[in-house]
C-alpha cells in the first residue's frame, strides 16, 4: 500500500482538529481537537519514518505523546478550575483578558 495515503489521512485529521478548535465553543471539545491535531502530526511522523527507513520519526512520536500527556494534565486542570469558578466550560465566556 502506498505510504502517502497515511499522509492524506494525517492531513485530514489535522484539518478536522484545526477547524474544531476554531469553531467549537466547548472547552473540552476544543481540547479534544487539539489532541486530534497532535495525533495527526504523530501519524505523519511515523509515516515519514517508514518512508525514509529510519527511526527518527518514531522517536519524535514518543516525544509528542509525552508532551501531550503533560498538556492533558495541565489543560484539564485549567478547564476544571474555570468551570468551578464560572459554571461554564465555554471558551467564549472566558474573555476577560481583552483590551
Amino acid at each position: 500500500m502506498d505510504a502517502s495515503n497515511y499522509l492524506y489521512i494525517s492531513a485530514l485529521l489535522f484539518t478536522i482538529g484545526a477547524v474544531g478548535v476554531v469553531v467549537r465553543r466547548n472547552a473540552i471539545v476544543v481540547f479534544m481537537c487539539i489532541e486530534l491535531m497532535l495525533n495527526a502530526a504523530n501519524l505523519s511522523f511515523v509515516t515519514f519514518s517508514r518512508i525514509n527507513g529510519n527511526l527518527d520519526g518514531q522517536v519524535m512520536a514518543f516525544f509528542t505523546m509525552v508532551v501531550a500527556a503533560c498538556e492533558v494534565v495541565v489543560g484539564l486542570a485549567i478547564i476544571v478550575a474555570i468551570y468551578r469558578s464560572r459554571r461554564s466550560a465555554s471558551v467564549d465566556d472566558a474573555s476577560l483578558l481583552k483590551r
Binding site: 478548535v21 476554531v22 467549537r24 465553543r25 483578558l97 483590551r99
Partner: protein, 629 residues
C-alpha cells in the same frame, strides 16, 4: 609677613552667633540679641588687639596671615583657604565690627517690638562674619565666598519683613542685580586663573608684571562690573533705593557703611591689576564720576528720608570709586572717605531710624517738620553727620572729600579738570539735597499726620548715634593729621613719586566750600522761605519729574534688559516646548497610536486567537511553498 593664629576668631565669633541663633530657634529668643551683640563686640576687641600688635611692628612686618586648610588642590593649582590681615583689611575690620557692634546695640531697642528679633540678630551676625571673610580672605576665591555671603545676608535682611510683597520684591531685585556683578567677579577670577594660573592676591600681584595688558584690562573691567554691582554704581545702581525696604539698622550697616563699600575694597585690593591697565582704570573713573552725579541728582527729588540717604550713599561711593580709579594718588583717600563716610552715613541712617521710630514709621519727609524741638539728641547727631557729609571744617567729610577733589584736580591731563569740576558740582548738589533733608525733617512747621506724637528715642538708640557723631567729628582729622592713613597704607601701593599740583590745597578747599555754600543757600532759599506742602506737588517741570523717577533707571532696565530677557526666555521656552518636547511627544504618540490600532485584535476570544495562529501558520507555509517551488 607674620603668622597669626587668632585671625580666625574675628570671623568665627560672629559666625558662631549666627549658627547658635539660627539653630537654637525660639529657645534663644530671650537672650539671642545680647549674645549676638556680645559676639560682635568681642570680634571688635580682637580687631583692636590686632591693630595694637600691628602698630608696634615695623611697616614691612605688619601684614599677618593664617592658613586655615587646604581648599583646592588640583595638579599644579593650589588654593589654601587662608586669611590675610594687612594695613588695608584692618581698617575694614575695625569699621565693620565697630560700626556693626554699635548697630547691634541700636537694634536691640529698634527691633524690640519685632517678633523675629532673634532672627534679625542672627542675620546681622551672619553678615558681619561674611563681610569679615570678604576683607580678610587672602585670595580672590575666599573673597568670593565672603562676597556671596554678604549678598545673601543683604537679601535676607532687605526682605526681613517679607510679609509685605513690595519688600520681598525689593530684596529679589537687589539679589538679581547683585548677581550681574557676581558674574563679573567670577569671570575676573577665571581670567586670573587662565592667564596667571593663580588666584591669590600675592600671586596675582607678582604675575601682573608679566601678564599682557589686554588680559589685565579684561580682568579689571570684570572687577569693575563686580564692584558696580555690589557698590550700587552706574549702571547697576538701581537696587540700592529699593533696598531701603529693610529695617533701618540694616540700611545703616549694610547699605551705607560696609557692604556697599566692598566694591571700593575690591578695586583698592586689586590695585596691581588696575595700575597696569589704564583703560580699566579710566572706566573706573568714568563710572565713579557718573554715579556721583547720578546719585546726587536722585537725592534731590526723594521725599522718602531713607531713599534720599540711599541716593546720597550711591553718590558718596561714586566719589570713592572715582578716587580708586585715579591710581596710587587716590587709593588712600578713597579708603579715608570710606571710613569717614561709614561714620557719618551710618549715624545719619540711625538718626533717620530714630525719627521714624518717633513718627510711627513715617518715612515721608513732607510729613515731618519742626522735629528739632522734639528730638534734640537725634537732631544734634544727625546735624553733625550733615555737616560732615557737606565737608564743613573741621568735620570728617571736609578732610576726606577735599582730598578726593584735590586728587581729582591733580591727576594730570585734561581729565583732571573735568573730574575736578564734576566732584565740585557733586559737592554742591550734595549740599543742596542734604540741606533739604535737614530742613524738611527738623525745621519748618509741623506737617505730621494726626495722632503722631514724636518723642526722643531710648538711650540704647541714641548712644550709638552719639558715638558715631563723635566719629563723624574726629575721624577725619585723626586720619588726615600728619598723613596718618596715607603713610599707614602706602606700603601696599606702588606710588611713583610726587604728582604735579594743578591747584593748591587751600584753593581746592575754598572752591569746595564755595560750592557747598551755594548748594546750601539754594536749598535754604527754596525750602525755608515758604511752607512745604505735605503732599508732593504734581505741577512740576519735566526735569523734576524725570529726576523723581530716578532718572528713568528702572524704566531703562525694564525696557532694555527685563523685557528682552523675558522675550528671550519665552522664546526659549517655546522652542523647548515645540522642538525638544515636541519630538519626544511625537515618538510617544507613534507608540500609542500603533498600540491602540493593534489593540483591536486583542478581543479576548480564544477562538479568534486560534484562527489567527492558523492563518499565520498557513500563510507562512504558503510563503515557503512559493519560495521553494
Amino acid at each position: 609677613m607674620g603668622i597669626s593664629t587668632s585671625l580666625v576668631y574675628l570671623i568665627g565669633l560672629p559666625l558662631a552667633g549666627a549658627v547658635i541663633l539660627l539653630l537654637g530657634g525660639r529657645r534663644t529668643d530671650k537672650w539671642g540679641h545680647l549674645l549676638a551683640t556680645a559676639l560682635s563686640g568681642s570680634s571688635f576687641a580682637v580687631g583692636v588687639y590686632h591693630l595694637i600688635e600691628m602698630v608696634n611692628r615695623p611697616a614691612e612686618m605688619r601684614p599677618t596671615s593664617q592658613k586655615l586648610f587646604e581648599w583646592i588642590s588640583v595638579g599644579s593649582f593650589n588654593v589654601d583657604a587662608g586669611l590675610l590681615l594687612d594695613q588695608l583689611s584692618i581698617c575694614f575690620v575695625l569699621l565693620i565690627t565697630g560700626v556693626g557692634t554699635l548697630i547691634h546695640i541700636y537694634s536691640i531697642a529698634y527691633m524690640s517690638e519685632d517678633r523675629d528679633r532673634r532672627r534679625f540678630f542672627a542675620y546681622l551676625n551672619l553678615f558681619i562674619a561674611a563681610m569679615l571673610l570678604l576683607v580678610l580672605g587672602d585670595s580672590y576665591l575666599s573673597l568670593y565666598v565672603g562676597w556671596e555671603g554678604v549678598g545673601l545676608a543683604s537679601y535676607l535682611l532687605i526682605g526681613f519683613w517679607n510679609q509685605k510683597p513690595a519688600y520681598a520684591t525689593a530684596s529679589k531685585k537687589a539679589f538679581v542685580m547683585n548677581r550681574v556683578g557676581d558674574m563679573g567677579l567670577s569671570l575676573a577670577i577665571m581670567i586670573a586663573f587662565a592667564t596667571m594660573g593663580t588666584v591669590s592676591f600675592s600671586g596675582v600681584a607678582e604675575q601682573a608684571h608679566h601678564t599682557s595688558e589686554a588680559a589685565l584690562t579684561a580682568m579689571g573691567v570684570m572687577l569693575l562690573v563686580a564692584a558696580a554691582g555690589k557698590s550700587a554704581q552706574f549702571p547697576l545702581q538701581a537696587w540700592l533705593g529699593d533696598a531701603m525696604a529693610g529695617p533701618t539698622p540694616v540700611s545703616a550697616l549694610i547699605h551705607a557703611a560696609t557692604m556697599v563699600t566692598a566694591g571700593v575694597y575690591l578695586i583698592t585690593r586689586s590695585n596691581f591689576v588696575f595700575d597696569a591697565a589704564p583703560i580699566a582704570q579710566l572706566l573706573v573713573v568714568i563710572v565713579g564720576a557718573i554715579t556721583l552725579i547720578f546719585g546726587a541728582l536722585i537725592g534731590t527729588a526723594k521725599d522718602d528720608i531713607k531713599k534720599a540717604l540711599a541716593a546720597s550713599t550711591m553718590s558718596q561711593i561714586g566719589y570713592m570709586i572715582l578716587a580708586t580709579g585715579l591710581g596710587p594718588i587716590g587709593y588712600a583717600f578713597a579708603i579715608m572717605h570710606l571710613i569717614t563716610h561709614g561714620f557719618f552715613k551710618a549715624g545719619m541712617f540711625l538718626g533717620a531710624g530714630s525719627v521714624m521710630h518717633g513718627m510711627n514709621d513715617e518715612v515721608n519727609m513732607r510729613k515731618y517738620g519742626a522735629l528739632r524741638h522734639f528730638m534734640p539728641i537725634t537732631f544734634i547727631t544727625f546735624g553733625i553727620g550733615y555737616l560732615a557729609i557737606l565737608g564743613v571744617p573741621p568735620f570728617a567729610g571736609f578732610y576726606s572729600k577735599d582730598m578726593i577733589i584735590e586728587s581729582a584736580f591733580n591727576s594730570g591731563g585734561t581729565q583732571a579738570i573735568i573730574l575736578g569740576c564734576l566732584t565740585l558740582i557733586g559737592a554742591a548738589i550734595t549740599a543742596f539735597y542734604m540741606t533739604r533733608v535737614m530742613i524738611l525733617t527738623f525745621a519748618g512747621t509741623k506737617r505730621w499726620d494726626e495722632g503722631v506724637e514724636p518723642h526722643e528715642s531710648p538711650w540704647l538708640m541714641w548712644l550709638p548715634m552719639a558715638v558715631l557723631a563723635v566719629g563723624s567729628v574726629t575721624s577725619g582729622y585723626l586720619l588726615y593729621h600728619d598723613k596718618a592713613l596715607y603713610k599707614w597704607l602706602s606700603p601696599l601701593f606702588e606710588d611713583h613719586g610726587e604728582h604735579e599740583e594743578l591747584l593748591k590745597p587751600i584753593v581746592v578747599s575754598a572752591l569746595a566750600l564755595t560750592m557747598v555754600a551755594i548748594g546750601v543757600s539754594i536749598a535754604v532759599y527754596k525750602y525755608m522761605r515758604e511752607n512745604v506742602e505735605s503732599i508732593a506737588p504734581t505741577d512740576v517741570s519735566l526735569i523734576t519729574k524725570f529726576v523723581r523717577k530716578d532718572l528713568m533707571q528702572d524704566q531703562f532696565n525694564e525696557k532694555f534688559f527685563m523685557r528682552p530677557g523675558q522675550l528671550l526666555t519665552k522664546g526659549l521656552v517655546k522652542t523647548e516646548d515645540v522642538v525638544v518636547d515636541g519630538s519626544v511627544r511625537a515618538v510617544a504618540r507613534m507608540a500609542i497610536g500603533s498600540g491602540s490600532g493593534l489593540r483591536g485584535l486583542q478581543n479576548g476570544f480564544v477562538r479568534s486567537y486560534a484562527a489567527l495562529i492558523l492563518i499565520g501558520a498557513l500563510s507562512l507555509i504558503a510563503a515557503i511553498w512559493v519560495v521553494v517551488s
